[in-house]
Amino acid sequence: MVVRAVGKALPHDSAHLHVAGTAAYTDDLPEPRDLLHLAVGMSSVAHGRVRRVDLAGVRESDGVVDVMAASDIPGENNYGSIVKDDPVFAEELVQYVGQPLFAVAATTVDAARRAARRARIEVDELEAILDPLTAVERQSFVLPSETIVRGDPDAALENAARRVQRRVFVGGQDQFYLEGQIAMALPQEDGGMLVYSSTQHPDEVQRIVAHATNRDAKDIVVICRRMGGAFGGKESQAALIGVVAALAADKTGRPCKLRLDRDDDMIMTGKRHDFVIDYDVGFDETGLIRGIAFEFASRCGMSADLSGPVNDRAMFHCDNAYFLENVRIVSHRCKTHTVSNTAFRGFGGPQGMFAIEHVIDDIARTLGKDACEIRRRNFYGKDDRNVTHYHQVVEDNILDELFDRLQASSDYEGRRAAIREFNASSRVLKKGIAISPVKFGISFTSTLLNQAGALVHVYRDGTVQLNHGGTEMGQGLYIKVAQVVADEFGIGVDRVRTTAADTSKVPNASATAASSGSDMNGRAAQKAAARIRKRLTAYAARQYGVSEAEINFRDGKVYIADRIIEFADLAQAAWAERISLSATGYYRTPRIHYDRETFSGRPFFYFAYGAAVTEVVVDLLTGEHRVLRVDILHDCGDSLNPAVDLGQVEGGYVQGVGWLTSEELWWNDKGELGTHAPSTYKIPTCSDLAPDFRAELVRDMANREKTIYRSKAVGEPPLMLALSAFHAIRDALASDRNPLPDLRAPATPENILRALAGANHE
């Protein structure tokens, strides 16, 4: 029997360390001698000209060793990766409350934080733009607005039998990784700098640190063994933390660590974009969309950061699962004097999908039909109606099959009828149910980022060290790739150790983002391992005088015609014959191409699909709700590790429900964020998980593309299954008097009461 690692529900590679408290995060690493701790001084004004920065009080504070501001930066004062509009330390202009102005290095964390509060900053305040609608009014944008048009939306809208026009709002979201942003920089000999960084993108930290400290990439090493969660929040934002630590280490000549306090982290670093969405949809009596126009205004904050690709992805995903024959999408990337928003699981996709799912729900409610029927009516076709608005043919559509299965397994129709009955006799509590699909494009839309490298070493004892450009943030990437490598050699996964992401081992790696981690790094690692196996095979064939076809690696052994030897013995023998047991592997995603100018091409290698049914109960008096039952069917192709993938599906769903229900970002009229700690910013807790929660992976639908073992990416897509929860709440609120509840996301008790009150005021 062949024991394979791929496809097995193995625990996370660090699970036994997590539970024992022995998994080391950046702050857990042994502290070097002479370590200094850093704190960052921030702007308390949303927009203004800096008149004076008086740091005397900071310098005099107990334990302070050094202070640094913009003028102390030897190189480039920027950590913006695409557009250079993100100063590490603001100099003349401050553009959000929380923007870093200086850093202080002290002998303890506490001393540094106390000292940072003693700065005197004088600012001449300028008018601040604090919301996207005002930004649109003032034409305040971080990047030019973009438009995609397909067909003739104006004529289609004009000619449509029915039409709905609305404005809807969807809030932002803080990543709320449990481990806050952190980096520790250690000066090395001859101008080198070693940075331990909690980052999804070590390569970018390396680049930004090099530019800021006037070094070359060769001088900088960035290492990340694991993050305590990231969710996109450590894609571009980690560079700020890393560069501040490195600048301080450079200036003081001592190791420096910057660990942000939770409140500072939430105030200083970017989040998911909130969107204001205007739509105008024309449809026929069957609910078929004839024409649609979207206008998006997103809060990008004070700089571009990743807002370009985030908003592009929102434009790509505002079709979700539906064929939009005549469509216009206008996207405004609004500049506001708030923190620059950034990547967060889904990366604009969730907001685009929120828009179209709202449209579908409104069409159904306008026609008095079940939204499930309208969804199916508008699904992409298989042979026709299968071209997206960016001209990619949807080749792998499984939406109808998923809906067939899920509607049956969840008893959607039966429960919908029971809910109608319940609601008829319940005055205060009302139930609602909704089913929603997910179709999510897999690949970085910037084609050049779709490349990955790996490095594999086989040692003479037959054990393996694996390194790749991917980072581990809890998603289980390391175990999945280790499973792939174990199977290349036919050895147990316990003989493979994955070492920390390290810019000195695999260079120029893309961010671990866009759900691409296992697709790309799995393939790269497989190739590296296969090269070594090929050398071993060739050697064994020569040595034993058999053909290569007669050699097999499995169960920790090598089968050489009728001989069986231990894998370790073959490794030892090959070494003795001076055969290299180390190899790199490199992968570039095939078949993708895309023209940013025309928004057309094949930006995505394939699509990942899923569907969810959520049932809720809502209290019409308090506006509180609870999710009662969830049924999920999600497509991971042939899963590399069903336990890890199921974890992504379940966790993604719950995180999405948080985004759409309890997680509210609130700024006051001075642009100060009021929700900057878990006391005020409410992510789901244990009791929020539905008492009846059934998530399943689709087990019989391999990826039709040649991905690693025909698996599919799973990091982001499940988050958007949570749209079913939002629409279940709307379903509970809707009534004859209030057929299209004006419910803003997040559906907090307050927003639910507002949606109900809106009807009362009619």
């Binding site: 529900a9 625990p11 539970v19 408290g21 990784y177 449990l178 509590l429 809890g474 006391s679 807790t685």
Partner: protein, 481 residues
């Protein structure tokens, strides 16, 4: 006798250490001084649970009591005489995982792993307390732990399967160690002008409060901890109430529950809910187990936040406070205690010695509601409490108190006036709702806007009415449970 060193048990070993900074947190001590880095900092305000550890204290009859607490806001000297168990202390000597840890691995209960040690410790406390936890028990036990990765399903599964293995817990061994570190004198730490006192008796406590009228009186530290971790305040003199025997007692006199000023919420709440079952859901939603294990009812009251959750209920049932200064005691009704935002009736050197909660009278309906963005561990945007006595259709006595609507927790006088002596029906409630708009002019903040706070309190009153008529028997949280 005073001593500048504290002694406690840490993972089975007795630790004796000097305390230079009395406000050094247990988390800082673990991570920075001992390099025990298994316990994590996620928020430094007792809200995320990544720092959860278990404290063991002597119980009655040779038993011991285990409590999960937040190490991030607990001051180190409060550990004196206790045992602390961290995640490092759970696995056996051979490194074998504890059943709780094993279950978390088997059920795939960790992803990024950063919250995991905290969950493990909360689950360990549950493991020792309850060998057949229901889903609701699990929810309640984990209300103070946030996980951002898993969505909780596998963690719940771990809680349900952890008892398939037994651990080697030995109560007597822990009791013996606790006995070894027990302190029979008063703890007094003075270092570079900073003082920390932990007296064992109320006379000594009162004398210290009189001697240092500007001192910070520390009970559970679930608020004062944040003064240090978030506001970086220097507290020069701290007088700890957590060892004062008389303030740790709950007694029942003929007419009242007498709850000592330092009784943790975890003990005070069941005693109150036993008298007033209508307060059950409110108190379930009150903070989290680690906060309730450390935080005290007296602290909640004395701190006097306008969004404190215990006070509306205590006001409507007619609770009084016994305030002590030196040897003198006086009693004041809770609804006369607050003067303005964080201004109360306490004079310098005076403290809340005990809370007197009237015992239930059979025909009164008592209820309390909380309105917040999340069920568990949230701060109220609005909090209400009611006490209703009916005589047939007529209201004999109605009291309503609210939090989150004004600078202090207070009674809704206009609303009460409308209802008192009227028929208990929807017309009266309509009129009472209008009166509520005269009672309160709430503000807008991150928890809710002014206009919706008012709508909410009116709806909450309507809801209470429908609960009494049986038309809205369940909340969304109790539905189907």
């Amino acid at each position: 006798m005073s001593s500048a060193r504290i002694r406690f048990v840490l993972n089975g070993e007795i630790v004796e250490t000097a305390v230079d900074d009395p406000t050094r947190t247990v988390l800082q001590f673990l991570r920075e001084d001992l390099r025990l880095t298994g316990t994590k900092e996620g928020c430094a305000e007792g809200d995320c649970g990544a720092c959860t550890v278990v404290v063991v204290e002597p119980g009655s009859d040779g038993d011991v009591e285990l409590k999960a607490i937040n190490a991030c806001i607990q001051f180190l000297p409060t550990l004196d005489g206790k045992e602390l168990i961290t995640v490092e202390g759970l696995s056996g000597g051979s490194g074998e995982l504890h059943p709780v840890q094993r279950a978390m691995v088997d059920e795939h209960g960790s992803q990024c792993g950063f919250c995991t040690p905290g969950f493990v410790m909360s689950l360990f406390a549950l493991y020792r307390h309850n060998d057949k936890p229901t889903r609701r028990d699990i929810d309640d036990a984990l209300a103070g732990n946030l996980c951002r990765c898993t969505g909780y399903r596998p963690i719940i599964a771990a809680a349900q399967s952890m008892h398939t293995r037994r651990d080697d817990w030995d109560t007597a061994a822990h009791a013996r160690l606790l006995n070894e570190v027990a302190r029979d004198d008063d703890l007094a730490i003075e270092h570079q002008g900073r003082r920390f006192f932990a007296p064992g008796g109320i006379e000594a406590f009162a004398a210290l409060c009189s001697r240092y009228p500007d001192a910070t009186i520390l009970a559970g530290g679930t608020d004062i901890g944040l003064w240090v971790t978030k506001q970086h305040r220097s507290l020069d003199t701290i007088i700890y109430a957590g060892r004062v025997a008389q303030m740790l007692e709950i007694e029942t006199s003929g007419t009242h529950l007498e709850i000592g000023g330092a009784v943790p919420l975890a003990r005070a709440i069941p005693a109150i809910v036993e008298q007033y079952p209508g307060l059950d859901e409110m108190f379930r939603r009150f903070a989290s187990p680690p906060i309730r294990n450390a935080g005290t009812l007296g602290g909640n009251i004395a701190n006097g936040s306008p969004i404190g959750d215990s006070m509306p209920a205590l006001m409507v049932v007619g609770a009084t406070l016994v305030l002590q200064k030196g040897a003198d005691e006086r009693e004041i009704a809770l609804d006369e205690f607050y003067h303005d935002y964080q201004v109360n009736d306490l004079s310098p050197g005076e403290f809340v010695a005990r809370i007197r909660v009237p015992l239930r009278e059979s025909d009164a309906i008592v209820a309390s509601q909380k309105w917040s963005k999340r069920f568990d561990q949230d701060i109220s945007a609005v909090c209400t409490a009611y006490r209703l006595e009916l005589s047939g259709e007529m209201v004999r006595d109605f009291r309503m108190a609210c939090g989150g609507l004004a600078a202090t927790i207070r009674r809704a006088a206009h609303c009460e006036n409308v209802i008192n002596g009227s028929s208990w029906n929807e017309d009266t409630i309509d009129a009472a709702c209008e009166a509520l708009a005269r009672d309160f002019s709430p503000i807008t903040d991150m928890r809710a806007s002014a206009d919706m706070r008012l709508v909410a309190v009116q709806n909450l009153l309507r809801r209470f009415f429908l609960e009494t008529t049986g038309e809205a028997p369940e909340t969304v949280y109790s539905y189907g449970r």
